[in-house]
């Protein structure tokens, strides 16, 4: 592999318009004919780097060389023209079209002004035979399994003449059998001289098929390594780690009786993949229980199960002794459950409604907030002004539409709404994602204050800083299960946490079950 690199990214820095530095001084190189893994936690900057290679983003600084000559891609089309293709994690296919129609979309062979489908089918069959990617060209994409859809995506990239293929977490949605098949195909592509970039969290897979690894951590490269020299543990150590930014003086935990108790939650996804299996734990009064894990390991489903929006989940969820399964969201909320959702634009806020409208979503139906038929506007305005002052929200007043605020200020409103309802249980899902340090500190301090007041808090986060600083005890989720429980977060080392998050090491079932506090 001593030959000169096919693609080189030198000293790449990417700053997004909102001030987030996604990549700083990143170096990356790709040798022809290799399978190169990029590993890193969520938010480490892998996707940003790939987007720049594929022309979806332009670097703020640094240069890119393709076969030794300088390049600048202004759009994915530029990248495709230069033989670079990307298979996205979320498939970009037209479900109602057939496989052939999807593959030739935008580059249909024509004959006398109309599309020559025979030729298109021939091209597809030739390609699928050459790379041993067996597929029925006439099948409709909507009827295909996930693994098959991925094949269509790969063919789509190949037919456009890609020599370099970027695969963004290709195995995240696959069953083990489909993964094996994908790996066989990737090895085949490599033999044919293609170069593959493989983005993944799954170290076992990386070890299995990749030649070299680039490890990224908080926007920087931690180095390039030959896979055979590295053990999974070595990789994990470099990948997981943190720079301590926020520190808090926490008071001693005074845990009371359990407020939330979940037993044996299991859920089967639409594709027959178990997304939750036998998840049991509890959260007691006056403590913050953190759930760590790489995203997509069942955290989202767990939260849906707890908030009453996952029909078909098995098991029991009790809040303050009452069963919550099968209850409506309103009933769950009326029991005293607050929820800070991960996606504030989709669920957490109505962006063209005013700040006060967004604040009262928890209160408007309560008697104290109404006067006869009408809402108590004075009380609402006073409350809004109080919260704006308390949470230091930068805005023009209670009537300003929330969509005009910055992400951090918008999140403060969401947090204010959920916290001021004085909940018994607060579920906080990525409460500080995408907000500035100042807002993050304020939100964390508020969570700690609520814990001291006896609220039970469940914190789900992919941000290790947050989860290690704020929580009292810690659970680790991997593949829809809890694989580790640490009753005291102070006893967890980052290394150990990394092993658990990446599924390298797991505690036995009895140890994890202590989280139930029976």
């Amino acid at each position: 592999m001593g030959s000169s690199p096919l693609l080189e990214m030198r000293n790449i820095t990417k700053v997004y318009p909102n001030g987030v530095v996604a990549n700083s001084n990143v170096n990356f190189s790709l040798v022809e004919g290799e399978i190169h893994a990029i590993v890193g936690e969520n938010g480490a900057g892998k996707s940003t780097l790939m987007k720049m290679i594929f022309g979806m983003e332009e670097p703020s600084e640094g240069e890119m060389l393709l076969a030794g000559s300088k390049m600048r891609f202004r759009s994915p089309q530029d990248a495709i023209d230069n033989g670079i293709g990307m298979v996205h994690q979320h498939f970009m296919l037209v479900p109602s079209f057939t496989v052939v129609q999807n593959i030739v979309l935008g580059m249909e062979p024509t004959k006398g002004g109309s599309i020559n489908y025979k030729e298109a089918v021939r091209m597809t069959e030739e390609l699928s035979a050459k790379y041993n990617l067996a597929i029925d060209p006439h099948a409709k994409v909507e009827n295909l399994s996930v693994g098959m859809k991925q094949k269509v995506e790969i063919l789509k990239v190949l037919i456009r003449g890609a020599k370099v293929l970027i695969l963004d977490e290709p195995t995240a949605v696959l069953t083990p059998q489909e993964t094996e098949e994908l790996f066989r195909e990737l090895k085949g592509l490599k033999r044919e001289g293609h170069t593959i970039v493989f983005i993944s969290h799954k170290l076992k897979e990386v070890k299995e098929i990749c030649d070299r690894i680039t490890i990224m951590r908080s926007g920087k490269t931690e180095g390039v390594f030959t896979t055979s020299d590295m053990s999974e543990r070595d990789i994990s150590r470099l990948m997981v780690g943190r720079d301590v930014v926020l520190k808090y003086d926490k008071t001693e935990r005074r845990a009371g009786p359990a407020v939330l108790r979940a037993r044996d939650l299991s859920y089967m996804g639409p594709e027959g993949k178990p997304l939750l299996s036998h998840v049991s734990f509890s959260v007691r009064e006056g403590e913050i229980v953190g759930i760590a894990g790489v995203e997509g390991n069942g955290q989202a489903e767990l939260v849906q199960a707890l908030t009453g929006s996952l029909p078909g989940v098995k098991g029991t969820v009790e809040v303050a002794g009452e069963n919550m399964i099968g209850r409506s969201i309103k009933e769950v909320r009326d029991t005293g459950v607050s929820y800070i959702p991960e996606d504030r634009m989709r669920q957490g806020a109505a962006k063209d409604a005013s700040i006060s409208d967004n604040l009262i979503a928890m209160f408007y139906r309560m008697k104290e907030w109404n006067r006869g038929l009408f809402l108590n506007k004075k009380k609402i305005t006073r409350f809004t002004e109080e919260q704006i002052a308390r949470y230091n929200v930068r805005c023009k007043g209670p009537e300003q539409p929330i969509g005009m605020l910055s992400g951090g200020n918008m999140q403060k409103i969401v947090v204010a709404r959920e916290c001021e309802a004085a909940p018994k249980l607060l579920i906080a899902e990525q409460p500080t994602r995408g907000v500035d340090i100042g807002a993050a500190r304020l939100i964390h301090e508020r969570l700690l204050e609520m814990r001291d007041d006896g609220c039970a808090i469940l914190l789900l986060s992919a941000d290790l800083n947050e989860i290690l600083e704020v929580s009292d005890s810690l659970l680790v989720m991997y593949n829809g299960q809890f694989v580790a429980y640490y009753p005291d977060v102070k006893e967890v080392t980052e290394e150990e946490l990394g092993f658990a998050m990446l599924g390298i090491k797991r505690q036995d079932a009895a140890e994890v079950r202590r989280a139930l506090h029976d």
Partner: protein, 349 residues
């Protein structure tokens, strides 16, 4: 300095100004005596009490349907069923005006309530389909317009038709059912008061009650509403009931206030005009008054123009199309808003 917060108002005014300028431009090209024609178009509607009366008379049904559509749009429901409901409620109110004998005060009340309730019940059908099975309300409501028109026409032909009338019209209404005149010298009837009361009621409902809050949140972001514990299925059905009632009330008030027989053998178009009013009013109940009066004003102007000059009234359709296009074009004047926002943030001077 003009604030970004007033942007929507400024934009609406700009749209109206542009469409009026365009009207004048077309007149200048088409007419042999452009200045006089423009004068007729702009001033004739306001030239006499009778003409002003015409504007208000036409604005009454527009207020009802505009309010009905604004409420649906507010809930993010693109339902254009007000047209059929308006027509069919007119038939129901007429039947009561023809076939029942009641005292002077009770008769119109019964007729209007019957029309309104009919509207509410019929409107609930697309509402339930939407809320429970996510059936596209635009499709069902437009199909319902045709169905209701057909059924209504059947009632007119076989149940209400007066064989002695020279046109296809119903028997005469009992005088007790008709709405009283409000302003002597015009045909403005007490339907105007009903319209304004309805607008005020909807305004308070929307902004000052918890149910209105649920409606606005459902319209603004249904996922957020559901996450907050709002039963959006219920909200969608309730909005349809209220909007249907308003459209039905409008149809009943129109036939009892303006006519002495039911004589629409085609859909009168007020329902679809209601969508234009709602657009102009930015789905704000109180602004519906102004929007309805404006639309009525340019219509009456066009009528007068057709009568007194060489430009046909159809000109107004072009103007309306321009208004709809510009108002629904979200990018129109957006650059200006961006500039104002940047200025306010102190990024650009």
């Amino acid at each position: 300095m003009i604030k970004a917060i007033h942007f929507e108002k400024i934009r609406t005014i700009a749209v109206i100004a542009i469409s009026l300028l365009l009207t004048l431009l077309i007149i200048a090209v088409v007419s042999d005596d452009p200045l006089r024609t423009m004068g007729v178009f702009l001033t004739e509607p306001l030239s006499s009490l009778a003409h002003i009366g015409n504007i208000v008379e036409m604005a009454i049904p527009l207020m009802f349907t505009g309010l009905s559509v604004a409420l649906l749009f507010r809930a993010n429901l693109f339902n254009l069923g007000a047209e059929g409901l308006f027509y069919f409620a007119g038939i129901v109110a007429s039947s009561i005006a023809v076939h029942f004998t009641l005292s002077a005060y009770v008769h119109p009340i019964v007729a209007i309530l019957a029309g309104g309730l009919t509207g509410a019940l019929l409107s609930a059908i697309p509402g339930i389909l939407k809320a429970k099975w996510n059936v596209n309300e635009l499709v069902t409501s437009l199909m319902f317009n045709s169905i209701l028109f057909g059924v209504g026409l059947y009632f007119l032909n076989y149940k209400l038709r007066d064989p002695q009338a020279f046109v296809n019209a119903s028997y005469k209404f009992h005088p007790s059912a008709m709405l009283n005149n409000l302003v002597p010298g015009t045909r403005i009837h007490i339907g105007l008061i009903l319209a304004i009361l309805s607008i005020l009621a909807v305004h308070y409902y929307l902004y000052n009650t918890k149910w209105g809050y649920e409606l606005r949140m459902t319209g603004s972001n249904r996922s957020f509403a559901e996450y907050s514990g709002i039963n959006t299925t219920k909200v969608i059905i309730v909005v349809h009931l209220i909007a249907g009632f308003l459209a039905g009330m409008g149809g009943s008030v129109e036939v009892l206030g303006m006519y002495n027989r039911f004589q629409w053998t085609g859909l009168p178009g007020y329902g679809l005009d209601g969508a234009l009013v709602a657009l102009l009013a930015k789905n704000n109940p109180l602004s519906v008054i102004g929007a309805a009066l404006f639309l009525a004003y340019i219509r009456i102007g066009a009528d007068q123009m057709a009568r007194m000059s060489d430009v046909p009234a159809e000109l107004i359709s072009i103007v309306q199309a321009v208004i709809i296009l510009l108002i629904s074009a979200e990018q129109f004047l957006k650059f200006w808003k961006t500039r104002m926002l940047l200025k306010e943030a102190g990024i650009r001077e």
